[in-house]
C-alpha cells in the first residue's frame, strides 16, 4: 500500500515536470512600496488604506495582468530603496525587466551603460517625452535619450495645522498666512509660540538623511545657485547657503522648532498637534487628510499643505523636486519580452494619474490639466510646482550618498555641534572627495 502511494507520488511529480511550458512572454517587475496583498485581493479593491502607495501599485499591476492575459507578469517587491538588490542582480546577469528608480539615482546606472534607452520603444507605444512635465523630462533624459518613464514628482512641503495657526492669528480668509521673508518667518514663529505654547516648526532631525539637504537645495535652486559646477564637484560654502543654514539654526536656537525627533516622532508630533508646520514630503498628504476627517483629532478640519514660501526675494519660487521612474536594466530579452515590457510602461503612463492619489504630484503634462486630478485634495495649491520645481543635474552620480553626507553636516551646523562655515566646508570636502574618486 505504502509502495503504491510512493509510486503514485513519483508519477505525479514526473507528470508535473512534463507540464507544458507557458508560451507567454514573461517579464519581471521589481518595485519598492511594500507588500500589501493581505488586504488587496486580486481583482478587488483594497480593504483598507485605499490611497496608499502599496495598495495603488498592487492594484495597477493586477489590472495590467487581467487586461493582458497574453503576458506573464512576475512582481518582485523589494526592500526600499532596492538598489543593493538591483546592483547584485545586474552583476549576476539576472536583472528584472522593469524597476522603480528615484530619478536622482538614474545617472548612477546610466553612466555605466546599465540601462536601456526607452525612446524608440515608448514611441512605438505612443508615449513621447513631450508628454512629460518639463521637470520630469529633464530628470529622465541623459545624453539626449530617455532612460526612465516618469511616474510621479515629489517634493517637500509645508504641512500646516490650521487650528493652531488660527489660535496664533495666522489665518486670513481661510488661508494660512505664510512668511514672505526670513525676518517675517522668525516673527511669525515667535508669535505662534507665544499664542500656542508650541513650536512653529515640526522637524525630523535625528537620524535624518535627507530633509536638511532638501531644505538647502530648495533655497539654493530658487536663487539660481550652481550647486554642481561640474559632475565631480559640489559648491556649498556660499553666502546664500550660509544664510539658509543660519536661518534654520536661529529657529533651532530660539526653540521655534521641535528638537531631537526622528521621522516617526516628528510625524506623530504633527498628528498630535504638537507644532504648526511640518516640513515633509508629498507622500504624507493622504494620511494627514485622513486625520483631518476624524472628529476630535488635533488636525480635524484644520489641515492644509503649501509649497515652501519664498523667503529670500529670489527670481523663481522655491521647490526642489525628485520623482520615481520606471527604468529597464540592460539584459538579453526576446522581442516578445521587450514588447511586453513596453506595453506595461504604456499602461503605467496611462494610469499615472491613479498613482497620484497617493499624494505624489504628476509627471505627465496631460494629467496636470485633468479635472479629476485637479479635484484631488490640495492639488490646486501644489499643481504649479510641476512647472517651476527644479531637480538636480543628471550628470552627477551618487545623489543619495551626497544627500546623506550633506544632511549630516547641516544637522551638525544647525544644532551647534559645528560652526556653519566649517560644516559647509566639511560637507564640500567629503562630497568632492567621493565625486572625484568615482569611475
Amino acid at each position: 500500500m505504502r509502495r503504491r502511494a510512493l509510486l503514485g507520488g513519483l508519477a505525479g511529480l514526473s507528470l508535473a515536470g512534463c507540464a507544458p511550458k507557458d508560451p507567454r512572454p514573461a517579464i519581471t517587475v521589481q518595485r519598492i512600496f511594500g507588500d500589501c496583498r493581505a488586504h488587496v485581493p486580486k481583482g478587488g479593491a483594497p480593504t483598507q488604506n485605499l490611497n496608499g502607495e502599496c495598495e495603488i501599485i498592487t492594484g495597477l499591476l493586477d489590472r495590467f495582468e487581467a487586461e493582458n492575459p497574453d503576458i506573464r507578469l512576475n512582481v518582485n517587491a523589494v526592500a526600499w530603496p532596492g538598489y543593493d538588490q538591483l546592483s547584485a542582480q545586474i552583476a549576476a546577469d539576472d536583472a528584472p525587466d522593469l524597476v522603480t528608480m528615484h530619478m536622482a539615482v538614474i545617472p548612477d546606472y546610466q553612466i555605466h551603460g546599465l540601462l536601456t534607452p526607452l525612446d524608440a520603444g515608448l514611441k512605438a507605444q505612443g508615449v513621447t517625452p513631450d508628454q512629460f512635465t518639463p521637470v520630469a523630462r529633464r530628470a529622465v533624459t541623459m545624453d539626449g535619450e530617455v532612460y526612465g518613464l516618469p511616474f510621479d514628482a515629489w517634493t517637500q512641503l509645508f504641512h500646516i495645522n490650521m487650528n493652531l495657526f488660527a489660535r496664533a492669528g495666522l489665518v486670513r480668509g481661510g488661508e494660512p498666512v505664510l512668511p514672505r521673508n526670513a525676518a517675517e518667518l522668525l516673527d511669525q514663529a515667535r508669535r505662534f509660540r507665544a499664542a500656542t505654547g508650541k513650536p512653529y516648526l515640526v522637524q525630523s532631525s535625528v537620524n535624518e538623511r535627507a530633509a536638511f539637504a532638501r531644505n538647502l537645495y530648495t533655497y539654493l535652486l530658487s536663487a539660481h545657485e550652481v550647486i554642481f559646477p561640474d559632475p565631480h564637484h559640489i559648491r556649498l560654502n556660499t553666502p546664500r547657503a550660509r544664510e539658509v543654514v543660519g536661518l534654520f539654526k536661529r529657529i533651532h536656537d530660539e526653540r521655534l522648532t521641535t528638537r531631537d525627533l526622528d521621522y516617526v516622532a516628528a510625524t506623530t508630533a504633527f498628528i498630535n498637534g504638537e507644532g504648526g508646520v511640518y516640513i515633509v514630503g508629498t507622500w504624507m498628504i493622504g494620511n494627514f487628510d485622513n486625520e483631518a476627517a476624524q472628529a476630535g483629532r488635533p488636525l480635524y478640519r484644520g489641515y492644509r499643505v503649501k509649497p515652501y514660501p519664498a523667503l529670500f526675494g529670489d527670481p523663481v519660487l522655491p521647490a526642489f523636486v525628485d520623482g520615481h521612474a520606471w527604468v529597464m536594466p540592460k539584459r538579453r530579452r526576446t522581442p516578445e519580452q521587450e514588447r511586453a515590457a513596453f506595453r506595461l510602461l504604456k499602461f503605467l503612463s496611462v494610469h499615472e494619474g491613479d498613482w497620484t492619489r497617493s499624494g505624489h504630484l504628476t509627471s505627465m503634462a496631460a494629467v496636470v490639466g485633468d479635472p479629476v486630478y485637479q479635484a484631488q485634495p490640495h492639488r490646486r495649491d501644489l499643481m504649479a510646482i510641476t512647472s517651476y520645481g527644479q531637480g538636480l543635474p543628471t550628470d552627477v552620480q551618487r545623489q543619495f550618498a551626497i544627500q546623506a553626507m550633506l544632511s549630516e553636516e547641516l544637522a551638525a551646523a544647525i544644532t551647534g555641534i559645528k560652526p556653519i562655515d566649517r560644516a559647509l566646508t566639511d560637507a564640500e570636502r567629503r562630497i568632492n572627495d567621493m565625486l572625484t574618486n568615482l569611475s
Binding site: F33, G34, E53, A79, A88, A92, D94, N272
Partner: protein, 283 residues
Amino acid sequence: MSALALPVVRGRQVWAWARIAFCAVMLALVLAPLLWTVFLSFRTNIDLLRQAPLDLRGPYTLDNYAELLRNQTLFRWFFNSLVVSTVTVAGVLTLSSLAGYAFGRLEFPGRNWLYLIVLAGLAIPDQSVILTRHQIFSDLHWHNTYRALILPGLSAPLGVFLMTEAFRAIPRAQDDAARLDRANAIATFWHVLLPQTVPALASLGIYTFLLSWNDYWWPLISATRPSMYTLTEGMAAAQSNYVEVLGKGVLMAEAVVAGLPVLIVYILFQKHIVNAVTGMVKL
C-alpha cells in the same frame, strides 16, 4: 550570636539583596524592549500613530496577527529561514567538530600552520569577500537557491576554534584508554570524545542558528526572487515605505513571530547554554 558576627551577617544580607536588586534591574533592561514589542503588536496602527506614550489600558487588537496570517508569502519565507538555519547548523556542527577533532587530537604535518590559516578567517570581515563570493555564485548560476543561502554559512572559523579547544580540554588519557580497547580514530571521536563536547556543540549550534536566522545582507543580494526570500529579507521587502509611521503594529507582530523560533531554541536548550557558558568560563 556574638556582637562581632552580627554585622557580618547583616553585611551578607545587604550584599545578597544588592545582588538581587542588580539582577532585577538587568532583567528589566533586557525584558523591557521585548515586552514593549509584544505590547505594541496588540495595538492598532492608528493608536500607535496617535498616542505617545501609549495607554496600557488598551484597546487591544489581534488585527496585526490576522494580517500576518493573510500574508501567505510570510509562511514561505519562514520555511526558507528554517531550512537555511537548520541545514547551516547541521553543517557547521559536523564540519567544526571534525576539524576540531583533527586539530585538537590528531598529529599530522602542517597542523599548526593549517590551524593558523583557519583562525585567520576570524579576522576577515564578511563584507570584504562579499563581491567575490557574489561573483562566484553568479558564475555557478546558484543565486536564488538554497545552496547559495546555506554554503557561505558553513565556513565557520569560530566553530573550528571552539571545537578544537573543547577537544583539547579532554584529558589525553581517554584516547589511550580507547586505543587499549582497540578503538580507531573515528570510533574514539564518535563514541568517546564527541559526547563530552555536547556543551560546546550546543553553544555553537545556538550561535550559528541565531547568526543564520538573523542574516540579512547575504540573502538580500543572493535571493532576489520573493519565493527564495528568508524571513528577514521578506519582512523588510513587505514594509511599505513609511511603515514605521503607518504600519508599526504589523511590524511589531512580524518581529514577535520572527523572534519565536529563537525563543524556542533558547527554551529547549537553556540547560546546554548554561553548561556551555560555564564550561567556557572554566576553559
